[in-house]
């Protein structure tokens, strides 16, 4: 598990309009690109220093490529980062076709099997 690296991906993509657009349009290419470049730069994009030992587990990479927020929730990715980035990607399209908050409510419904249970921890 590299929850830290998953959260770093969500944090860095959500704050950059160009990376966010690329994550919406071609998530497979963007995840591969990020893991090999920005993800390895120390902190938030240090130009020189590299972190050599971080990478995604296969299931983490799959969940990110498939925008699988249920799997990300279940592996303990931070709820705020997940919600924010997938609202950015899906809310406008859902709202236009199905009404306001329809994406947010579908998101909740897909997680409804967790009602009444302790959620996976977001602690690292």
């Amino acid at each position: 598990m590299s929850k830290y690296f998953v959260n770093k991906f969500l944090f860095q993509i959500d704050r950059d309009p160009e990376l966010l657009a690329a994550y919406k349009d071609d998530p497979g290419a963007l995840v591969e690109h990020w893991e090999a470049s920005l993800g390895r730069q120390l902190g938030n994009g240090d130009p020189v220093e590299r972190t050599t030992w971080l990478s995604f587990e296969p299931e983490e990479r799959r969940a990110l490529v498939e925008h699988d927020y249920v799997a990300l929730f279940e592996m303990g990715a931070h709820f705020f980062l997940c919600l924010t980035i997938f609202i950015a990607i899906y809310d406008e399209d859902y709202a236009a076709s199905q009404g306001p908050l329809s994406f947010q409510r579908e998101y909740a419904t897909k997680l409804s099997h967790w009602l009444g249970n302790d959620y996976p921890t977001v602690a690292l």
Partner: protein, 292 residues
């Protein structure tokens, strides 16, 4: 010595401006007018205190700080603060602001906190996020007063205990009381009642735990720290909603006021959250009627 003229503890709802002003009237939610009316009435409780400086308490939501270096408690010490990040503008339509800072009080506060056993981090390039800009929008929309921003970690566990937030509030109060100045200082902080984000209880017809919300309003209204410390733990907050830990910043604000009844209490049941507004006047109620 400085006068602490008001302490405000408020929920922060990032969609307030969008819901009540930026959305065309015919498309607004049914509660928009009532929400705006309640916020404007709450604003009067700060205006009446005639503050010169605002000590603001909030929490960064992974806008500037991340797990590579996440501060537990942090204070800004700058002449000026930019506010509102790109992704807040994108999601919430919150405008950008430039706020004056009060470096002298920031420095006095930082030293006072260190002297009292709170080993704060300090930033000289802090950008303010919606946890502080939302209460600026609701309680001081002209954004015309210098601020001293204090950030807490309610977000990236492990978190400090509820008792630690209360104690921090008490420490901030004693530092304000000792500040050698003839200025009036108001403390304004924001947090949450029960809240769920990115989980199965999000965006429901009410907040995720109306029972917690009712109790929390009662505890804060009565200054009942004993009940809070007997009932509120990290686990009980998680049970009320996965993002409920922002309640600890409201405990901190009550710590600044002390274990006293609030002079002003109001709330509004919205979809997704219960909004709540509290004001204490530690040095006397400046409003003519003094009514609660």
């Amino acid at each position: 010595m400085a006068e602490l003229s008001a302490v405000l503890a408020t929920t922060h709802h990032p969609f307030f401006l969008k819901a009540t002003e930026l959305t065309p009237p015919e498309e607004r939610i049914p509660q928009a007018a009532e929400w705006k009316r309640k916020v404007e009435a709450y604003r009067e409780t700060l205006t009446a205190a005639q503050p010169d400086i605002l000590v603001m308490v909030g929490a960064d939501h992974f806008h500037q700080f991340f797990h590579d270096n996440y501060p537990t408690f942090l204070i800004g010490k700058q002449p000026t603060y930019d506010a509102t990040f790109y992704n807040e503008e994108r999601e919430f339509s919150i405008p950008k602001y430039v706020l004056d800072g009060h470096e002298e009080l920031s420095g006095f506060m930082l030293q006072g906190l260190l002297d009292r056993g709170f080993d704060f981090s300090v930033s000289h390039e802090l950008k303010i996020d919606h946890s502080i800009i939302c209460p600026i929008i609701t309680t001081r929309p002209d954004a015309d007063l210098p601020i001293v921003p204090i950030y807490t970690n309610i977000f990236a566990p492990p978190l400090p205990s509820p008792k630690r937030f209360w104690d921090l509030g008490r420490a901030i109060r004693s530092i304000i009381d000792e500040y050698p100045s003839d200025k009036k200082i108001a403390a304004v902080g924001s947090g949450h009642l029960s809240l769920e984000l990115g989980g199965p209880r999000q965006f429901g017809e009410t907040g995720p735990d109306p029972v917690f919300d009712r109790n929390a309003i009662e505890w804060l209204a009565n200054g009942d720290i004993d009940a809070i410390l007997a009932n509120v733990t990290h686990e009980s907050m998680s049970g009320a909603g996965n993002a409920t830990h922002g309640f600890m910043d409201l405990i901190l604000m009550m710590g600044i006021a002390g274990p006293e009844k609030a002079a002003y209490v109001d709330n509004l049941d919205l979809f997704h959250t219960m909004e709540a507004y509290f004001t204490w006047y530690p040095n006397g109620d400046p409003r003519k009627d003094g009514a609660r």
